[in-house]
């Protein structure tokens, strides 16, 4: 892990997912599969060996019929800033071979597939189960290899992979801006595949540090929260919900505690 001494956090790309708008349709997952060359196999029903960079969890309030409510929570990699927000997400510091790293320019956590040797320590470290292991060699049947996206390298058996916030799209947008002699990327120039695929517009993506980006305002909404915030992982994926029980399910609370009223050890600094 290379510390940047001239540390200036120019960008902090993040996501705000409106759970009041998420219908659980799965378009984000499919959009991600096709953008990122995610493989598939004949049986994908064991979700613990199924590679998903973004996975939708369905939760219920457990109340009896007809008071039951359900909510879908799409979970990409949370791109944690980590304790103290200095680029020490739970997974990065544990990787013995620097195969995953925190990019100080974007806040995005990379995964170098050809560097990873598959120790899976990062998976043990990630409370969100965002990291997936290639238990099998990927196989694209019939002519399906033809649809693979050349901007994202297919992974091999035995390595860990995870959501990259479509980093290749960032690279492409940045290269384009560079050629056009621009410093800044417009908000719509760099969007993740899932945000684009979401048919109800529940996923908003942008620079959390940029006041002109939609995510900046959304993350400060009173409806906003993050998953497992109390662990001090400092995720860059925010959620919006108007339902109290959903908010409570998003973290762990002792019986007497109320979500939103816990004094957090780490306060966000701007």
């Amino acid at each position: 892990m290379k510390e940047k001494n001239d540390y200036k956090q120019a960008k902090r790309y993040g996501m705000v997912i409106d759970l009041d708008k998420c219908t659980g349709c799965g378009a984000c997952m499919v959009g991600c599969y096709s953008e990122n060359n995610v493989p598939f196999k004949a049986d994908e029903t064991n979700k613990l060996d199924s590679i998903n960079w973004i996975r939708i969890f369905k939760i219920t309030n457990d109340k009896p019929y007809p008071e039951t409510e359900t909510c879908y929570i799409p979970m990409p990699c949370m791109q944690c800033d980590g304790v103290g927000k200095h680029g020490h997400p739970p997974c990065v510091s544990v990787c013995p071979a620097v195969a995953t790293d925190y990019d100080y320019d974007t806040g995005i956590i990379s995964q170098i597939y050809t560097r990873c040797f598959g120790c899976r320590y990062c998976m043990a470290a990630c409370p969100y189960h965002a990291r997936k292991f290639n238990w099998w060699d990927p196989v694209w049947p019939a002519d399906m290899e033809k649809y693979l996206n050349p901007k994202v390298s297919p992974r091999m058996r035995g390595v860990v992979e995870k959501c990259s916030f479509c980093f290749h799209r960032y690279q492409q947008a940045r290269d384009k801006a560079y050629l056009e002699k621009r410093e800044e990327l417009a908000e719509n120039e760099y969007q993740t595949a899932c945000a684009e695929a979401c048919p109800t517009g529940a996923i908003t993506f942008g620079d959390l540090n940029n006041k002109n980006h939609a995510v900046y305002k959304l993350k400060n909404s009173p409806k906003a929260f993050r998953l497992l915030e109390r662990l001090n992982t400092n995720p860059k994926v925010y959620y919006l919900t108007s339902k109290k029980w959903v908010r409570r399910a998003g973290d762990n609370y002792l019986t007497h505690e109320e979500p939103g009223k816990i004094k957090n050890n780490m306060k966000e600094h701007h």
Binding site: D20, K21, T23, G24, C25, G26, A27, M29, V30, G31, Y33, S34, E35, N37, F40, A42, D43, E44, T45, N46, K47, I56, K58, T60, D62, P64, Y65, P66, T68, E69, T70, C71, Y113, T114, D137, P138, W140, P141, A142, D143, M144, E145, K146, Y147, L148, N149, P150, K151, S153, P154, M156, R157, G158, E196, A197, C198, P199, T200, G201, A202
Partner: protein, 763 residues
Amino acid sequence: MKIDRRSFLSYTTAAVLGGTAGSMLTPAPWKLIDDAAIWTQNWPWTPVPEDGEVTYKKSVCTLCPGGCGITVRLVNGRPIKIEGSKEYPVNKGSLCPMGISGLQYLYGPSRVTSPLKREGKRGEGKWKKVSWDEALAAVTKKLSELRATGRSQSVVCLTGSDRGTIPNLIDRFLTVYGSPNFIRSSTAQDAIEQAIYLTQGKQGTPIFDIENANFILSFGSGILDGWGSPGRLFNLYGGLKPTKTIIQIEPRLSDTAAMANQWVGINPGTETALALGLAHVIIKKSLYDKNFVENFAFGFDDWTDEDGKTHDGFSTMVKNFTPEKVAQITGIDKTEIVSLARNFARASKPIAINGRGQGDVPGSIDESLAVQSLNALVGNINKPGGISAIPDSNYAKWPEVTIDEVASKGRQQPRIDGAGSEQFPNTRFLLNRLPEILNKTKDESPVQALLVTAANPLYTLPDTASTKKAFDRIPFIVSFSPYMDETAAYADYILPNHSYLERLQEVPTDAGISRQVIGLAKPVVQPIYDTKHVGDSFILIAKALGGFISNAFPWNNYEGFLKETLKDQWRELNRKGMIEIENNTPEPLAYTFNTVSGKFEFYPTARNTAQPKNRSALPSYTPVPIEGDIQRFQLVLIPYDTIRLASNNIANSPFMTKTIDDTVLKKQTGMVEINPTTARGLGLKEGSTALLTTPKGKATVKIHLFEGIMPGLIAIPKGLGHTAYNKFLANKGTNFNDLIGPIEDPGSGLDMAWGIRAKLIRI
């Protein structure tokens, strides 16, 4: 010096050790390690996709009738990604998982890559690759034989849609060939269409202007589960949340219900009673649109016919449906019914919609009529935010056909499915009746040849076993499917169509939008296999049949046919990828209806009430008699739809199946949802394996406990249980259609089954 054995060994050991140590100092071992690592980073079996120039092509998705605009990203001309097209007015960039995973259909293992001729028994899976000439000649030979022996009417063409140039081309073929039996699959739209026809006198595509409504009362319509055009509705939902209210009425907490402002749990199959109960409250509290009802409606009050006989009007009839009685029928609290009615009537732009789940099953005409009546009560007809019907677009104009005597004779024969007959005068297609008719006929099957395109009846028709039996009676089955679906797998010949991304086709957008959109699906890639456009296949067959049939198809191919069809519009369509036709919604007060009374008919005089003779044509509630003895089958099985499962003629892509939760499918076994209280009584737990039995069949299932389903019900997802396609889909879960049979609506003949009695036994 003498070298004995011991010192020899010593020297050898020393040499080996020394050699090893020495070579560690050379670059060789390190280079080898590095090479090994590089090799693992580029396993030869891990593909490296070719990079190149990125281009985009626009087209329209035809995987379902939704007609969403798509943008295909290509690298060096190779399609690599499909995204929703932001400029396309139907979906405005939104796309369902099926649409996004479209490339898996193009390149997938289910493609039929060349014409095939059946070798083994039907459905055995033994095929012989044949040339197009051979395949077309075989079909032509069969058709000309049937024609020569005066049995031209026994040729049935089965399609997924009757709109657009491809179905029209096929219908034209049947006209000159001499068969009245053009059949398309039925959906809830058929019942709604008929209800609109009966009340408004207009034949056309129903439009629900949800865009402009602000209170959506949905009688089980899965507007977020694949009902209508998913791209359009998801897009709409994303935008409408704060200002609009959605009320979802159904016995299971579907994804639509979960996202609705209010979910009303209802006893399944009693939606009609609720609609009439709501009407009762609205009328009783005088909340209805008096201007509309008094000036533009007929049959609201009691009326007297020409013979002097007095008939109950709608307002009198609904008096039977008091909130108390409806509460008893539907299981919904009385006060809830009253407040629902009040909220609906008081909303500034309310709309009531129906068609359960994705709307695959028509349902009873009573239900659709009751819902239409609700809309009429709030004066919500033919205006923004309301319901209307647009007549089929008349852009398709062709030279008149001249037909010979054989064709004329054949064309005049009654339709095999009974649609349009005296029994079902207002119904156009009745595919659901076909299996029973075939199975009942003792002598020669009335269907001698079945040509299927864009339909998969062996999967989608209820009672799969009897459908299969019926198909066994058809001597000649031809499938034009690009994919090895259940029907293709059971055919004698497969003449594979191009997949949707290789095919030219205009796409009139079905149900819904207040403007009509005609899109153009343009090939984004040259056909990658030895396939042929289904339109071309029909033109070639027509040409080979000769005579008048050939004359009716003067075009070289489908493209020529399409261009000529669209005439002036072709250029615009080709350039812009779509044409928008503004729908002239009448001014609110200029209600025009083509009914006998010239008004909106609460009392649909054109309705065929069949038996008994004196029955009122008013919508009424009689419980749909679902199959099964209540003693033997104490539970009720209902299907549910989810957008992650395609239950229509084109099945799930591997990506879609990958998204399915482990509470829906576990390995190869499908899971059913039951309420924990129901499970307790049956000794079932989460994940238990059980035998699900209905009067129609049985299946091994696993149990998923879900509080959000009414006790006493079992819910099974539609879209699983395929037997064909590929290993990513086949033999996973249960096909709901294996477990249910159709129930004919007595007035329309359409299937109105919403469930079936069932039992669950732990195994």
